[in-house]
Symmetry: C2
Amino acid sequence: MAPPQEDENTLKILLATDIHLGYMEKDPIRGNDSLVSFEEILEIAKKKEVDFILLGGDLYHDNKPSRRTLHGSMALLRRYCMGDKPIQYEFLSDQSVNFSHCQFPLLNYEDQNYNVSMPVFSIHGNHDDPTGTGNLCSLDLLHSAGLVNYFGKTSSLEKIQLSPLLLQKGTTKLALYGLGSVRDERLHRMFVHKNIAMLRPKENKDDWFNVFVIHQNRSKHSATNYIPEQFLDDFLDLVFWGHEHECRIDPEWNGNQNFYVTQPGSSIATSLSEGESAMKHVGLLMIRGKDFKMTKIPLETVRQFYIEDIVLSETTLSPDDHDISKKVEAYCQQKVENLLQKAEAEHTGNSKQPDKPLIRIRVDYAGGFEPFSVYRFGQKFVDRVANPKDVVLFQRKRVNTAKKEEGGE
Amino acid sequence: MAPPQEDENTLKILLATDIHLGYMEKDPIRGNDSLVSFEEILEIAKKKEVDFILLGGDLYHDNKPSRRTLHGSMALLRRYCMGDKPIQYEFLSDQSVNFSHCQFPLLNYEDQNYNVSMPVFSIHGNHDDPTGTGNLCSLDLLHSAGLVNYFGKTSSLEKIQLSPLLLQKGTTKLALYGLGSVRDERLHRMFVHKNIAMLRPKENKDDWFNVFVIHQNRSKHSATNYIPEQFLDDFLDLVFWGHEHECRIDPEWNGNQNFYVTQPGSSIATSLSEGESAMKHVGLLMIRGKDFKMTKIPLETVRQFYIEDIVLSETTLSPDDHDISKKVEAYCQQKVENLLQKAEAEHTGNSKQPDKPLIRIRVDYAGGFEPFSVYRFGQKFVDRVANPKDVVLFQRKRVNTAKKEEGGE
Ligand SMILES: [Mn+2]
Ligand SMILES: [Mn+2]
Ligand SMILES: [Mn+2]
Ligand SMILES: [Mn+2]
């Protein structure tokens, strides 16, 4: 992974995933968060003058997004992605194959009726997968409106053949594979039965830089409801893993498979879990020949989120203390105050980053302590946190059960 | 209304309204009807090489159309309306005023990122009016996707000022006013209180041909829940009345107001009433100077619909006849057979016109007759009519109560 020089042979791609447009859109405080960060991502892509944006699924939180969310996202895509800037790479594969599942089986920027300055390529996630009559999803709407290029849609339940999108910029050749979200157990089984085939360019196979975009469980939930990295073809150079919301965007080397894996993580926290509290990023992927470089770019508009665990039995508090209930509450209150101070100090300064952070205190009250009213506690912070109703979560076991809520979304 | 010559000064406009996309979309027989006729309308417009299409509201049947309907309509609009053909008229009014309620306050064909060969202009109807957060409707989605030009959206509850779209082709000048559906009582009151103002071009007022598109009750339901024609300004030349589903497309002269009214009617029957059984049409409006000509064009793909009234007491049947119940049923059955024969004979021959017609027999059984099972009766025609469940409607009075179901939809 030698950092390539940026020149006319460098493909610049913005990687982002799990934007979850419309998440909590009815919440008066958090309702706009997802669209704000989507706009930031588009802004970054524009500023970095990327060749295209690559999304890893779950662009929408709801399978049937509200009109407001659909309209807001279409308007942003039109505003940022339509324009006169020429596309500086060639498309070499057969569009009618790559987009065979779309009513307009071609790239939006190759339709002479649309001027596209910054193409978006996306697979679907489990939140925005095709359903119902016609097996359509929200990305079909965007594709048919000329706003995105929706790929990786498969229909077979038996066998999947993935034909890569083949792009060439100068001397750099990219084979881009994508597979929209499939139920993990089913995909697991298909892999085991060798029913997933990744087609490769016929000529000069080894000249291509091979990227695979996937939206599945990466962490093992049970024996078969995740996709082990070793299932993936080892000719791949980089796997772009969507669905997992924790940012692990720095490419991780898999020595068995001889590929890197990047997991950009979501651009919004859809659960108040450890993994979601990590800083959110998108990635600037530069590919030159067979080399690549990933630059992580922090998102400045994402609502801050701090989580802290308290084990009451490990504090100086004792269940026998006078007024212990009030003392526990005061203790928790101080923790929240500390996190609020931290949030204030760490605010990015971006005017679009909200002021009220998400705060979560997980309180293990094992050992004879009593929980207090979570609702009443939250009321103290109603003007200062974005989630007053669930600032505190009581747990009874010292063992960390919170792991359950981790993982893909 | 002298028929103008067609030349470089002739504006050609296709008028259509109440297309009700998605109507009965879950019905296995009728589910596709609305999209089929929408495509026929687009085809006609393309074939006639109109300058633009003008829609009178209720493009969608449901305020929140299904994804299938939304996608189907977007795909058709892209297929028929995007293209290289130059627009042969000038737009003279301020787009940012005409489309001030849109996030992209400009004409789709004036956005250099879109190639539009056949613009569509539309107001909203009562079925697809703006609602919810952001006060958006389906036409906002189409407008922001560059597929239609959505005008006539007002927000004031107090006072409405209508700024016309001003178009000029050669020497012909068109002032196009539009008002999306407003609750009839409210609009009635606003008219009474002189709170509706139609702004006029400052110069050479009398050179303009003035068209007003409106989507309200035209027929009087009660004293205030319709808009009397005399409420409308008499400088108008032609009123395009949407919402009323009966085809009365031939312009009707209103001598008091000195304007014509054309009511194209819906392109799909959304109720089994008399008015809906008239042949469905769209209109080719040609305007040259202050003259215009309307050519009605029958829609060939619309599902046939026949309705007939039977008053049992006026037949040779008597309640005292032996086996009268069977005889009544046989009588009705014969009527349906006759209508089915008629339908077969009158089929347009267009391969997209469905074979199974809608049939409705309204049976007045006053005078001692008994109704039979409507469901069982319909089963006899389950393979031959599109509406087996409601072929027969029993009524008890000789007075025609069916008028109630007539009127705007
Ligand atoms: Mn997911
Ligand atoms: Mn997700
Ligand atoms: Mn209507
Ligand atoms: Mn209607």
